[in-house]
Symmetry: C2
Amino acid sequence: MIPTHTSDTARQQAHDPMECRALSDILVRIGDKWTILVVGTLGDGAMRFNEIKRSINGISQRMLTLTLRGLVRDGLATRKQYPTIPPKVEYTLTARGLSLLPPIVALTDWARQHLLEIKASRALFDLEAESNPTTEAP
Amino acid sequence: MIPTHTSDTARQQAHDPMECRALSDILVRIGDKWTILVVGTLGDGAMRFNEIKRSINGISQRMLTLTLRGLVRDGLATRKQYPTIPPKVEYTLTARGLSLLPPIVALTDWARQHLLEIKASRALFDLEAESNPTTEAP
DNA sequence: CGGAATCCTGCTAGATACTG
DNA sequence: CAGTATCTAGCAGGATTCCG
């Protein structure tokens, strides 16, 4: 419906209100704090629950459970359960999950490259804001 | 410190605990629901506050204010205020902000390409989960 | 017009404890 | 080991109001 501009250059493509909804829905999940780290970790190959947990450092077991379930739900990872004692569960990225790695790497590379600049900008901004609390000082 | 592995392939690069902190700090901001949309919108050129607000549809004035301030703070956008009546404020992406567009486009392209598959996966997952509420039904 | 300030809410995510 | 369940604090974010 309303096929105004279907695809122009990179600049014009992400503005259709309906599509934006769905897209940001996905992007929110991906951009979430833990998802990126988990996907990056699973990029190394199949891993067990506590293995992932240990290598991420700071993630709670709850958040890891939810993050992994989200990945499985989106078809980005698979969960393989071995009915042994003690139980053993392995998570692996699917092909779709693997296809997500390059964009993620591009983004993290960008972040890495601009890390220092951004830190500096923030420090400067905060400094200036401190001197100007709406033009006044008690 | 601890320069264990500085950079190997794409697979091995995002795991240093210290760096991860800083990186995910940035990624969280970028991955935030509105930031991507605002950056994408500003990619078209300088825009006024309400202009952005109107073109994003669903964003509250508060969230737009905060998002824009975040972008300015990170040096990704500039705020230019014209002391006219009524006031006029224009936001523009900086060079650094522009450099963020390609990775973002890569990610949104990925999201767009896998939108339907993911929706299907979710539907299937939710359906199966509904039939198995911890192996029981009243 | 472009915000800032205030209030109020609901989800998020951490900590803890229990199960198969 | 790999979860689930429960409780709770905190803050994200919407609605509203006022100011320059």
